[in-house]
Symmetry: C2
Subunit: 147 residues, 2 copies
């Protein structure tokens, strides 16, 4: 028996199934959302900001200002992109975390493609004409469900 | 005139008001949500996980496993706690970022208080009996609204 089952037995609503997600499933889930969170290290502290994003060919793209907190720190290693769908009241949902390097997109053909797909404006508005590409070296995720 | 207004004039739905939030407003917003994201550096990469949390006396608390990814890395400096409420389709919402140090809560009086308030189970379920305290040295936030 799963030791957690024993521990929580008899306490309604506190029994959970937690499942590690495959890479394929992680990418599939990433493609279902519009807004994620980009995390990076700057001046010795982790910064996290919400961004609207696109997934294409195993990379994550979002727009930012070239002189903003993210833009001026590029290129970045060891940064993170996290997306979740958490239903707190149901204690269910999933979270996916991608780690890798982020840099400005300079390839013109790719930029044309990204601008064509970029129906969603950057969440924070304003002039955000720099596309950032995050190449995910690792991706992992977990889904949680109350049973 | 705000230069952004000029840039986006005539493009429906792309005109935004972005506002930096005061510390007081940031704490007030933090208290309205149940789930946030904890970000920290481990093995040279930023990790971000969703957690259910409490705010008390200018600190943020959440439960974790003592042997998990977060628990075994404590104490942590330069870590982050981020909460947002983003309505992607409306291009509106807010995001708050707190930075500081995180450590295990060992004070028994405080633990009694936290367990008393901890109506919400940890999002990921399972046995998460370690309370983590994040003392926010800095807190900042932004609200965005389409106009």
């Amino acid at each position: 028996m799963d030791p957690r089952e024993d521990e929580y037995r008899g306490q309604p609503g506190t029994l959970h199934m937690s499942e590690d997600l495959s890479e394929t499933k992680c990418w599939a889930l990433l493609s279902t959302q519009q807004t994620g969170r980009f995390g990076f290290l700057r001046d010795g502290a982790v910064h996290i900001y919400p961004v609207n994003y696109l997934v294409q060919d195993g990379a994550i793209y979002f727009r930012t200002r070239d002189d903003g907190d993210i833009g001026s720190a590029l290129p970045l290693e060891g940064c993170a992109f996290q997306v979740d769908q958490v239903r707190s009241e149901a204690m269910a949902g999933w979270s996916v975390l991608a780690n890798g390097t982020a840099d400005v997109v300079r390839d013109e053909a790719l930029l044309t493609e990204l601008w064509g797909r970029s129906a969603e404006e950057p969440w924070a508005g304003g002039s955000r004409t720099t596309f950032v590409e995050l190449q995910a070296g690792t991706i992992s995720g977990r889904s949680v469900q109350a049973v």
